[in-house]
């Protein structure tokens, strides 16, 4: 039996390496077609071009409209998720007693468990029609509805990570603040939140990354028209929605149209991976601060 122990350890190590293989695989798969794509389209045209019409007979490959669409929807989502998520987490961490928290928290986390395709349905067929009653010029496809819905979807992530960061703040800081006569609100906003700042920032950055990579809500409810605009009322297209659009069609493998989804995917991967790294680094920092 003892003879097999080193073999077992090696086998387990190989399984642990699958995760490294996944990262290498992602980079390799994206790189192969991105390089082939950039051989036909100059990188400056791709990154700085302002028109994205790869499926037209006279195609142009400027990715900025897709980037703008992604940025616009993510910005709307963040305007919803960040303040609401932070306030929820302050309530859960500083005000709610353990009884209330035990009921509210799991219910809030249900929001994170709803499949994104369901949120897409909700954005297209409930939120957008509702908004149209207030804003008559709002298109059937737009950035506003899916942005708001995406914000609600991401809210539990912001709330639960921020709450973790705030609960890691030692009680001594709170007690010191109360001893000086501060109220709970003053303590929360001027002591706890600043003390948990790196953890809260980590939560915010992870939330942005989630919004940038979110696919089905925008594929269903934001439209398929790449447009360089900051107008939330009209149809746009995000990077993720574009990949879905091409995947649903019959674009033959090896064509430049087919390669565009890998080039766009590469851009998406680099962007989100960078955000994730920063977020992980910040989380590491607050753990060190209070342990």
């Amino acid at each position: 039996m003892r003879r097999f122990e080193p073999l077992i350890e090696r086998g387990l190590f190989l399984c642990a390496l699958v995760s490294v293989g996944t990262t290498v695989g992602i980079i390799a798969v994206l790189a192969v077609d991105t390089v082939a794509f950039l051989r036909e389209v100059p990188i400056t045209e791709f990154l700085f071009g302002t028109e994205w019409t790869p499926l037209f007979s006279t195609p142009s490959f400027g990715v900025l409209p897709l980037v703008a669409g992604t940025a616009l929807v993510s910005m709307i989502a963040m305007l919803v998720a960040l303040p609401m998520g932070l306030l929820s987490s302050i309530y859960l961490s500083e005000y709610a007693n353990s009884h209330v928290r035990r009921i509210l928290k799991p219910v809030l986390e249900l929001l994170a468990g709803v499949p994104t395709v369901v949120y897409g349905y909700f954005a297209l067929l409930f939120v957008t029609p509702l908004l149209q009653q207030v804003i008559p010029t709002l298109g059937g496809f737009n950035a506003l509805g899916p942005g708001i819905v995406m914000g609600i979807m991401i809210l539990p992530l912001v709330s639960s990570l921020s709450e973790d960061a705030m609960r890691a703040v030692p009680n001594g800081l709170r007690e010191g603040s109360y001893a000086l006569g501060a109220t709970k609100m003053q303590t929360s906003l001027r002591v706890v939140v600043p003390a948990a700042f790196s953890g809260i920032t980590a939560a915010f950055i992870l939330a942005i990354s989630r919004a940038v990579g979110e696919t089905m809500i925008v594929a269903i409810a934001a439209g398929q028209q790449p447009r360089l605009t900051l107008n939330p009322l009209v149809q746009i297209e995000t990077m993720t929605a574009y990949i879905v659009q091409v995947s649903l069609g019959d674009t033959p493998q090896g064509t430049i149209e087919y390669r565009t989804i890998f080039a766009v995917g590469m851009l998406l991967f680099i962007g989100t991976f960078g955000l994730n790294l920063v977020s992980a680094w910040l989380r590491q920092r607050y753990r060190e601060e209070y342990s």
């Binding site: 399984c15 642990a16 798969v29 994730n276």
Partner: protein
Amino acid sequence: MTLSMRRATDLAFQVVALLVLLIALAALGALIFDVVRDGIGRLSWDFITGYPSRRASRAGIFPALTGSVFIILLTAAFALPIGVAAAIYLEEYGKRNFVSRAIEINITNLSAVPSIIYGLLGLGVFVRVMGMGRSVLAGASTLALLALPVVILSTREALRAVPGSIREGSYALGATKWQTIWHQVLPIATPGILTGLILALSRAIGETAPLITMGALTYVSFLPNSLGSPFTVLPIQIFNWTSRPQQDFHANAAAGILVLMALLLTMNAVAIWLRDRYQRKVAL
């Protein structure tokens, strides 16, 4: 500021914070209300056992539902052994060296990579290079890679919760490291591992984007009957119906959502039940 003013501001702040929380929960309520209102009328046994059709009133979800169940079982079969093995390595064997640190950071990062990127990975590696085609096997492999970080992270937590005294007792009786892990640590950690697995799978079963990108079909009128057969899943069927302009198909989509949510709730209920059992056991 006077004391009473500060107290009033504090109370107002608390009310606003609670209100914001309740607004989020109200959104969840509105979502459920909307889907039930639109879909409950279409929900029937014929809908669950029917095949897709160009006429909304005749269409059903049977191939999509079968595809989802098939894909999820296969995903579990891939992700569970690999994920548990990786977690055992990192938790029980991994030395605090560079390789272990790198693997850990890598897993954390992977868990935040957008799911659609996994779809491109599946398309490139499983569908093209390994020649699996747009099959059930390729789809399940893609979702297994997606689920893996969650399985690894939750398994590690379950292993960490096993008291050290159990390991020491086993060693004292002369057991080897692997014997200790296999006969003592793993049985105790099993409920925790399964809870994590079910939560990972309940996320995977709702995934749409990676499977569309990897090349799953959107209109399937047959049942997947082998690892190599083309397939669709419930979320893709819902997406397909939502994207059509006719209202009748929207009702189908809502009914499909109800079935998907029922499936998810069942899985989560099982996970919660396991976790309760687990907590009681550890408390002993």
